[in-house]
Symmetry: C2
């Protein structure tokens, strides 16, 4: 088999970038990782550099070079199919010695194909943002939400993190119920809590508000893990339950019959209160959906690379690639 | 009466600045206006310049000079009692020839004293932001909300405007009910609506989301009037009702017995759905509160200037000053 037939799938996300090097038969030859690969949050040049680093790291682990590769599929959050970011990455790959085909795909579609080889079905992805898609004939046919932190992304990591911050603030302000999230958030930010409550606003409230407005709003997403960690707290569990319901509602907006349902992103990956509320809210519709949780879109980016190269993709291809990636992670 | 005993009260807000020139007896000699006077949203230097412009305009209408004034009270939204913004304004007034006392007061307290001369009571202010205060002995004794657009300000102009945008987006995305707000918002922003809905996302949705993320988040507050204009629309009226309920809940958090209740800011000033829901939500507590709506804090800033100058302030002083300002507005 000639090296010129190798393919690379890349999944570039807001927290990290992953690349997989595969043969036309779907065998995994190498795996590599790098930093943040979302051109909106990381910046165009750093995101492109992260993709190249992940690709090179995958090649190095297999002892191959970029000139051995015929197809690179880049699935990056925040990367449209054309524009400044795509040109920047094309130029970088070309100057690094890559002469083959570069194809840009939706990170949502890559997440979808990380969980199924079926041409048609659904995916709900909740990481920093949140979106539901319907896939028909291997392409995105409909989408719900994915409208960003200020206007949508209901049930996302940002949505949960913002509610964690608001719950702590309302607790300190005396306007909401006491919650373990208050102590956790203050500790997380290194703010000393008051020993006892006197009259007026506690200094920790003023300090907390000052610290939070000093950060870019999107960083509220980093507080989402506090809700998962205190899931037995009534306020935290209420936030997680509502997140699951919102994600189910987004899926319901694109549902049109049975199919595989791939759930991806940190919020839905692990079984727990969000996933439970999500399935409960779907009700009878859940019975027609074959739910599979995936960690990210790197396996799907590999499958999209195979499709781009004109190679057959079956459930066996998917399972073999997913197993290989799980072993090297 | 010597000119050196004149006083000025200034109310600097996010959309405009107002100044009133008064005698120790509370007689209004002049009134002036200028541009945005909130140092956070307008910038420190432009806000200070707006205060000076409003003060000079009030002096000019009375044929007086800054050297004739002994006290200036500046009540500016977004201005703490000390810090960069206060020093900037002090320097500006000094270099313009003012040699008297400059005192900084909360804009919330100025709004309170625009509606009552009583030392103790309550105010709920909902403009771009939203806050409830309890006043005891002429000072703010407790506050609820006022925590800014990202974390609080429930029931504010921003809160309403953000929900207007979200409602239109959910309508266009097929995830929420049809609402007149969609047509109004698209028209307001000069975006052409689709003649009919085909499959996939309507181009107007992508365009709307792009336009909204291109503005500073706080500008969502400018959509609040669309909800008031379409108050017969079920989605719009639901937003306005919830706003009124949130404002009542903020007040409830600081309520401690009967008293005057001053409601201020654009959201609560005019009778309508927000005010009705606000009073309904207060329930029995409303009977113990003497509600007065005020347009802004300029009259109260005048009263605070009188108090700062050591002059008596009575209900008659307030009524006379409020009448005079109402005539010259």
């Amino acid at each position: 088999m000639g090296h010129d037939m190798l393919m690379v799938g890349v999944d570039g996300g807001g927290t990290g970038t992953r690349a997989v090097l595969i043969t036309p038969g779907g065998r995994c030859l190498g795996y590599g990782v790098a930093g943040r690969g979302n051109p909106i949050s990381a910046g165009v040049a750093p995101a492109a550099a992260a993709v190249l680093t992940a690709v090179r790291s995958a090649m190095a682990s297999a002892g191959c070079r970029l000139s051995d590769v015929s197809v690179i599929v880049a699935a990056q959050a925040g990367q449209p199919a054309s524009g400044e970011g795509t040109e920047s990455l094309r130029d970088l790959l070309r100057s690094a010695g890559f002469g083959g085909t570069v194809r840009f795909e939706s990170d949502l579609l890559a997440t979808y194909f990380s969980g199924t080889a079926d041409d048609s079905g659904y995916a709900v992805v909740s990481g920093t943002g949140a979106c539901a898609i319907r896939v028909v004939g291997g392409r995105i046919d409909a989408a719900a939400d994915g409208l960003g932190w200020l206007l949508g992304d209901r049930g996302s990591g940002f949505w949960i993190g913002q509610r964690v911050a608001k719950a702590a603030i309302r607790d300190l302000d005396g306007a909401g119920p006491a919650t373990a999230l208050t102590r956790d958030l203050l500790e997380h930010l290194g703010i000393a809590p008051e020993a006892s409550r006197g009259g007026g606003r506690p200094p920790s409230l003023e300090q907390l508000v000052g610290v939070l407005y000093g950060k870019p709003p999107i960083e509220l997403a980093s507080f989402a893990p506090l809700a998962f960690r205190s899931a037995e707290d009534p306020v935290a569990s209420g936030i997680l339950r509502r997140a699951g319901e919102h994600l189910a509602d987004s899926l319901a907006a694109v549902l049109a019959g049975p199919g595989p349902l791939v759930v991806g992103g940190g919020v839905l990956f692990r079984p727990g209160p969000v996933r439970e509320a999500f399935v409960r809210r779907l009700g009878d519709a859940a019975a027609d959906l074959d739910l599979r949780a995936v960690e990210d879109g790197v396996v799907g980016a590999g499958l999209l690379a195979l499709r781009t190269g004109g190679h057959p993709v079956t459930t066996e291809t998917l399972d073999r690639l997913a197993d290989a990636v799980a072993r090297v992670r």
